[in-house]
C-alpha cells in the first residue's frame, strides 16, 4: 500500500486546519471506535463557501482527504460543494489505495453535514440527500473492483 506524493503532501502539510469560531455551519462525522472522526466548519456568503476549516482524527488518508476537500470546496456554491464525490476527492489526490477509499467518504460526508447544518439553521431545507456513512448498507471497505483498480494509480 503506497500513498501518492500528493497524499503525503496534504498529510504532512494539511491546509485549512482548525475551527472557525463564527462558523455558519458545522459538520461532524465519523466515530472514534472506527478510528476516524472529522469536523468541518464553514462560513457562507451568498450561498458560496467563503471560508472553511477542518479537524480530523485519523490516518494519513483521512487527514489528506480532509485537507484537499477544504481546498476543493472553497468558493464553491453550496450545491457544488455537496455534489463533490469521494472519487473526485481521491482523483484530486492522484488516487487512494483501495482500503482507504472510505476516508474520502468521511471528507465528503463532513462537507455535506456542514452545508446542511448551515441550511437547517437558517430555516431552509437540507440539500445533501443524506450521508453515505448513515446508510446502513454502507460498507467502507466494499470497493468495487474497477474502482479499486482505477484509484490504485
Amino acid at each position: 500500500m503506497l500513498y501518492t506524493d500528493k497524499v503525503m503532501d496534504h498529510f504532512n502539510n494539511p491546509r485549512n486546519v482548525g475551527v472557525l469560531d463564527d462558523a455558519d455551519g458545522v459538520g461532524e462525522v465519523g466515530n472514534p471506535v472506527c478510528g476516524d472522526m472529522m469536523k468541518i466548519s464553514i462560513k457562507v456568503a451568498e450561498d458560496r463557501i467563503a471560508d472553511i476549516r477542518f479537524q480530523t482524527l485519523g490516518c494519513g488518508a483521512a487527514i489528506a482527504t480532509s485537507s484537499i476537500v477544504t481546498e476543493m470546496a472553497r468558493e464553491m456554491t453550496l450545491e457544488e460543494a455537496v455534489a463533490i464525490t469521494k472519487k473526485q476527492v481521491a482523483d484530486e489526490l492522484g488516487g487512494l489505495p483501495p482500503a482507504k477509499m472510505h476516508c474520502s467518504v468521511l471528507a465528503t460526508d463532513g462537507l455535506k453535514a456542514a452545508v446542511d447544518d448551515y441550511l437547517v439553521k437558517n430555516g431552509r431545507e437540507p440539500i445533501s440527500g443524506g450521508l453515505e456513512h448513515d446508510d446502513p448498507n454502507f460498507d467502507p471497505h466494499a470497493v468495487p473492483h474497477e474502482e479499486a483498480c482505477e484509484t490504485e494509480g
Binding site: N12, C34, G35
Partner: protein, 397 residues
C-alpha cells in the same frame, strides 16, 4: 539532515542480516552449491554442510537430536506445518484443537482451515494482563484434544507465556503441544526440552538471518503429515531441495543471538525502559501495555490516546524512524489489532497503539532521537483532532 536519519525501531517485524551471518553463508552460496541429496562429491559436501547446520541449530535450541529440526521457508510455513500436520496425521477424522486468540495469523489461519476440515477449535482468550493462564488451558482440554498451540512471546505486546505449565497441562490429557517461538529465541533463555513442547516454530529473519529460512522443531515420535510433497527431503516431512546457505546462516545467527544473551537482554531492556519512561513523562494520556506480566526485553507497546496509529507511523517515517502500529488503518481492515482486542483493549484506544522494538544495532542515541521527535508529533496530531479535548481533558499532553 533529518531525512538522512535511519532509525530502525521495528526489530520485532524483521532484522537486518548480521554481517557475520553473511560471511558464514557466502562460501556455501559460492562453492557448496551441490544438491545435498546427490551421492557424488558435490552432493556430499552440501549434505555435510546442511547436517552440520542442523546439528548446530539443534544444539542452540536444546533439541535432543538433530533429526528433530525440519528446515522450512520461514516461520509461517513452520506454523502451518505444525497446526495442520500434527492434527491431520494424529486424528484424520477430526478432533479438538486449542489455540490462543492472540496468536499470529500464521497459526490462526491454519486453525480456521482445521475447522473447515471437521475439527473443533477453541480460541482461548488471554487474561487482560496479556497471558494465557495454564488453568484456562486445563479447563478447555477435552479427551479428543489433539493439539494445543500457544505462542511463546507475543509479537505485539511482548508478553511471555508460561509454556512449560501449558505443555504439562496438555500432556496430562494426551495432547501435543506446539509453541511459536519466533519472537523469543535470542531474547530470553530458550530450551525446547525445558519447555517440554513437542513442536516449536523459529524464524530466521527475526534473528539477523535472511528471510526465507525457518525451522520447525518436532520432537521425535510426534506424528506429522507433510504439507509440501515431493522428493521426500527432510525425512519425508518437507519436500524440496534444501536451502543449504540459508540453513548455515540460520544456525550461525541462532548461535550469535544466544551467545551474547546475558549482556544483550539487559541492554535491550534498559533501552526499552528509557523509551517508555521518556514517552510517558513527556506525554499525558499514554498507557504502557501489559506491564503486569513478564515481557520480552526488546518490545515497548504503548497506547497514545486520541491519536491514530498510522498517522504517527507516517510522521515518524518522515523523520527517518521506523515503528509499527496496531491501528485498523495500517492493517487494511476495519478492525484494529486482534491481539489488543483479545486482551480487552477498546477499539478507540487500539487505533492509537504503537510498538517500538529495539535490537542489536539500537543505540541510546536512537532512543534519545526518538524521544526528541515523537512528543511534538503527538501534540500536533492531537491539536488537529476534533475530539481530543472533549475526550481526554483540557490540558492536552
Amino acid at each position: 539532515m533529518e531525512q538522512e536519519r535511519d532509525t530502525y525501531l521495528d526489530y520485532a517485524a524483521t532484522t537486518p542480516v548480521d554481517p557475520r551471518v553473511i560471511d558464514a553463508m557466502l562460501p556455501s552460496l559460492r562453492d557448496v552449491w551441490g544438491n545435498p541429496n546427490s551421492l557424488y562429491r558435490r552432493g556430499r559436501e552440501a549434505y555435510t554442510a546442511l547436517e552440520e547446520a542442523r546439528e548446530r541449530f539443534a544444539r542452540v535450541i536444546g533439541a535432543e537430536h538433530p533429526g528433530e529440526i525440519i528446515f522450512t521457508a520461514g516461520g509461517t510455513e513452520a506454523d502451518n506445518l505444525a497446526l495442520l500436520g500434527i492434527p491431520l496425521r494424529s486424528r484424520p477424522d477430526g478432533g479438538h484443537v486449542i489455540v490462543s486468540a492472540f496468536e499470529h495469523h500464521a497459526v490462526l489461519e491454519p486453525a480456521h482451515e482445521l475447522e473447515k476440515r471437521g475439527f473443533d477449535v477453541t480460541y482461548l482468550k488471554p487474561r487482560p494482563e496479556g497471558y494465557i493462564d495454564p488453568e484456562d488451558v486445563r479447563a478447555a482440554l477435552r479427551d479428543d484434544t489433539v493439539l494445543v498451540s500457544v505462542m511463546h512471546g507475543n509479537n505485539e505486546i511482548g508478553t511471555v507465556q508460561p509454556i512449560a505449565e501449558i505443555a504439562a497441562a496438555a500432556h496430562e490429557r494426551g495432547a501435543y503441544m506446539h509453541t511459536d517461538a519466533a519472537q523469543t529465541l535470542g531474547k530470553i533463555p530458550f530450551d525446547v526440552t525445558a519447555l517440554g513442547v513437542d513442536a516449536a516454530t523459529f524464524s530466521g529473519h527475526k534473528i539477523y538471518a535472511p528471510k526465507g529460512i525457518g525451522a520447525l522443531y518436532l520432537k521425535r515420535r510426534t506424528p506429522l503429515a507433510p504439507l509440501i510433497r515431493g522428493g521426500g527431503q527432510e525425512s519425508k516431512r518437507r519436500s524440496g531441495t534444501q536451502d543449504v546457505a540459508g540453513a548455515i546462516a540460520f544456525a550461525t545467527a541462532a548461535e550469535l543471538v544466544t551467545a551474547d544473551l546475558d549482556t544483550e537482554a539487559p541492554r535491550l531492556a534498559a533501552l526499552r525502559d528509557r523509551l517508555i519512561d521518556g514517552i510517558t513523562s513527556a506525554l499525558e494520556n499514554t498507557e504502557v501495555s501489559a506491564t503486569h506480566h513478564e515481557r520480552l526485553p526488546n518490545i515497548a507497546h504503548l497506547i497514545i490516546k486520541g491519536v491514530e496509529g498510522e498517522a504517527m507511523l507516517l510522521q515518524l517515517d518522515a523523520k527517518g524512524i521506523a515503528i509499527s502500529t496496531g491501528s485498523a488503518c495500517s492493517s487494511g481492515s476495519l478492525e484494529p489489532s486482534h491481539v489488543l482486542l483479545s486482551i480487552g483493549c477498546p477499539p478507540e484506544l487500539a487505533h492509537g497503539s504503537i510498538r517500538v522494538s529495539v535490537g542489536r544495532y539500537t543505540t541510546e542515541d536512537d532512543i534519545e532521537y526518538f524521544l526528541e521527535v515523537f512528543p511534538p508529533i503527538v501534540k500536533r496530531l492531537r491539536d488537529m483532532s476534533p475530539v481530543y479535548e472533549k475526550m481526554f481533558g483540557s490540558h492536552a499532553g
